[in-house]
Symmetry: C2
Subunit: 471 residues, 2 copies
């Protein structure tokens, strides 16, 4: 054929079936923009392989023709990691047809799934066997497990179960040359050389495309206790965390910090939500779980909170007396983001710090931000149990969106410089993608950046895997 592009696209179509190569602009459009509409790219086509073998064949074609590939799962990312760039050269590779539960091994407490299943479907497959897959995110109904693993997703249960990385025993990956790394082992100990799967977990698709994984499962919680706790200050919240860890160990599954203002905006837009402990500056939502029905976890939490109160670590507390009350306490936490959205323009950060540094970080960063942008309002909440805060700035009341958002670069710089000074991370759980790629050199050492690039070159020498992301 005269058009070499047509030649390789025909070979891609032969690999995956012509019906699964989308080129009609109306079909392709949804894959070219991230769900928040912040990134928009172009692509030659969207390809939807139905199996690892088909994906391998298509990557071989792309590698031969040096066609960039942009893997995409549920397209729920927050950093533009699954959106192609603007030059229109790339193929978007959607994993949406690879949706098999390959195996569930109850005795080994493992589940082998393909990348295109949603996180909720993975949770359901485990629950159907009486087991828990503990990763849990706001977007779990639409994000895919492949995306979760490629971004090393976090969420609310990291305190107890770790990040996505910690939940993986085995991985299958299509490499940039089309070869398949088949390492779907369900082993809890394996020291036979480098742990290759670690390379691809959290690499945001820049080293290969995750197609399947062996996941760790846990006992399902069968009793649960939830408390809203008012604390005198953040230092006390950190002390309370230590006390509850000692008292409950791994039965402590949630420890969410909320500032009074973050509760206020949650309730301002949901006035039906309770305000059981009015008049305090900081709150913690505590959750504890036990695998046994009818366990003493509620009594144990109450006892531990009583002891903490005697140590001055809490000002007041209320325990949910029913699942309905529990849901309403969690709704306070879960509606902060929505409340903030309705409150007007805002600038968000996804930061992590050593838990011990958070009490010193907060006032320093606040002082600098209020000096730079007087009247702006801090919305501080997040997973204090693992040091991850959603540290956001809402515009002063009545401020225009455009004028406020002009300051985003300056605000990011202030926040991230403080985070760096306190040995923290500028991306705790959302990743780098396009959004923070240019910021990395400011906060990572030259040695780290060089090592990342060496890894990238060693595994993807032609740079076809998700170019322009991360490294």
């Amino acid at each position: 054929m005269a058009d070499p592009g047509a030649t390789w696209l025909a070979r891609v179509a032969a690999a995956v079936g012509p019906a699964h190569v989308l080129t009609d602009p109306a079909d392709v459009e949804p894959y070219l923009v991230d769900w928040r509409g912040r990134y928009k790219g172009r692509a030659r086509a969207v390809v939807r392989p139905g199996s690892t073998e088909e994906l391998s064949a298509l990557v071989r074609v792309a590698a031969g023709a040096r066609i960039p590939l942009v893997p995409q799962g549920g397209n729920t990312g927050l950093v533009g990691g699954a959106t192609p760039d603007g030059d229109g050269e790339a193929l978007v590779v959607s994993l949406s047809r690879m949706r098999r539960v390959r195996e569930i091994d109850v005795a080994n407490a493992t589940l082998t799934v393909e990348a295109g299943l949603t996180l909720a479907e993975v949770q359901q497959a485990a629950a159907a066997e009486g087991l828990l897959f503990p990763l849990s995110l706001a977007s779990e109904g639409s994000c895919t497990i492949g995306g979760n693993l490629s971004t090393n997703a976090g969420g609310t249960a990291v305190l107890r179960y770790g990040n996505a990385r910690e939940l993986v025993l085995g991985l299958e990956v299509v490499l940039p040359d089309g070869q398949v790394l088949g390492a779907l082992r369900g082993l809890r100990k394996d020291n036979t050389g480098y742990d290759l799967k670690q390379l691809f977990l959290g690499a945001e698709g820049t080293l290969g495309i995750v197609t399947a994984a062996v996941l760790k499962l846990y006992p399902l919680p069968r009793s649960r206790a939830t408390a809203l706790v008012a604390v005198p200050d953040v230092q006390a919240a950190v002390g309370l965390l230590g006390d509850l860890r000692s008292a409950l160990a791994d039965r402590l599954t949630g420890f969410e910090l909320m500032s009074r203002f973050s509760l206020d905006i949650s309730r301002r837009h949901h006035p039906d939500l309770p305000d059981p402990l009015p008049g305090h500056a900081w709150y913690v939502l505590v959750q504890a779980d036990d695998p046994r029905a009818g366990s003493s976890v509620g009594d144990d939490l109450e006892t531990a909170l009583g002891a903490a109160a005697e140590r001055g670590l809490l000002a007041d507390a209320t325990l949910a007396q029913s699942d309905a009350q529990r849901a309403r306490l969690w709704a306070l936490r879960e509606n902060i983001s929505e409340g903030q959205r309705r409150e007007g323009p805002n600038i968000k950060h996804d930061i992590a710090l050593p838990v011990s540094s958070i009490p010193a970080f907060l006032p320093q960063a606040e002082r600098a931000l209020l000096a730079a942008l007087p009247g702006s309002r801090l919305v501080i909440f997040g997973h204090l149990g693992d040091g991850n805060l959603h540290y956001n700035l809402s515009a002063p009341e009545g401020a225009g969106a455009a004028a406020f958002m002009e300051h985003a670069g300056m605000v990011n710089r202030i926040v991230h410089d403080f985070v760096h000074a306190f040995h923290g991370s500028i991306s705790a759980e959302h990743g780098i993608g396009q959004l923070k790629r240019e910021e990395l050199p400011r906060y990572k050492s030259a040695v780290e950046l060089d090592l990342m690039r060496r890894i990238k070159r060693a595994i993807d020498p032609h740079g076809i895997m998700n170019p322009g992301k991360v490294v």
Copy 2:
């Protein structure tokens, strides 16, 4: 100078101080042989840097002169990974002078230590603050934390706390060119690019030298329950594991399988040890821990064992009623290796399997081994909770050592081929080193081996880091 060797050795001496470059054969000798005396090598010298800066300087000299470096911690490894080869070109780099506790952060539940501290010293540093560093090995009094991390050590608490890899938040590494990767972050969430520390954990010193780490700490257990359980067969033991996981969740910290014969040889050489449940084929030693003093963990274990008995998963059980009884039950388990040593020549394996495959693996492997070596005696015990068995063969009674050990290659082949057929690992926790390097190509795919080599070349292009090990 005329001797270029003298030139660079002088520069090494300048980097670390002449007193810390050992060249006298009597001083060097202990570093050239592994503790079991299976590997013996030669070296130009032993160098003992006192700080990361000194190590960095010496690696720069070695890199420039292309001198191989063999890092060595406590020299307690089982696969020859810390012993130089026989060509006498290498420097042994002992981390024994890098022994500082750099920081303990109680509120962040982290401990920052240098590589040369022994594991026991690390445990003690944590315990002094009321916290637990849970890694625990037979050699903990002499193995070093740097070696533990470089080999991704396992041990008896992996069921609950994971391998060494899972216990690390941050790492400092001297790279093969002498640059220092300074990533000593104490963060539980950090998604800012590739997780570089994972490369060096378990790499057995072939990619760089680990000099310090930020370790995760846990609440100290303050109440404990221990039971010896007789099970009708290994399938029942696997069922019991699932039941206890559901009943106790992460309070279940130990689940050790022992065959009757392994108990017999433990007791044969320690007749004072108890035999509370005689006449069964298989036993499990169960341990459960709770961070609270006076918790219900003992009652909970007893209740769970009662329920398992009703399901036919156990034949008999006894709970330790005192710490002394607990110690004597554990002594049954801990003396198996010594009992086996006294029983005569033996061939050992450190294998992992999906827990669910172990009941099918055992009779198949046993049949093949007894057909190949009639009269030989299987000594089967290990960490069933994480699928890791020490699967050993003792010579027939009265057999000569030399004649029996001639069959080691054949026995290894039979065992490892069955392990591979059941999707297991030929090295669960001991690593590859020199011992299993030649076996890797039989059990790892060409894709995996190629990726390992690409990583090695990318990070250590001149191959000076622990050559001849792993890859």
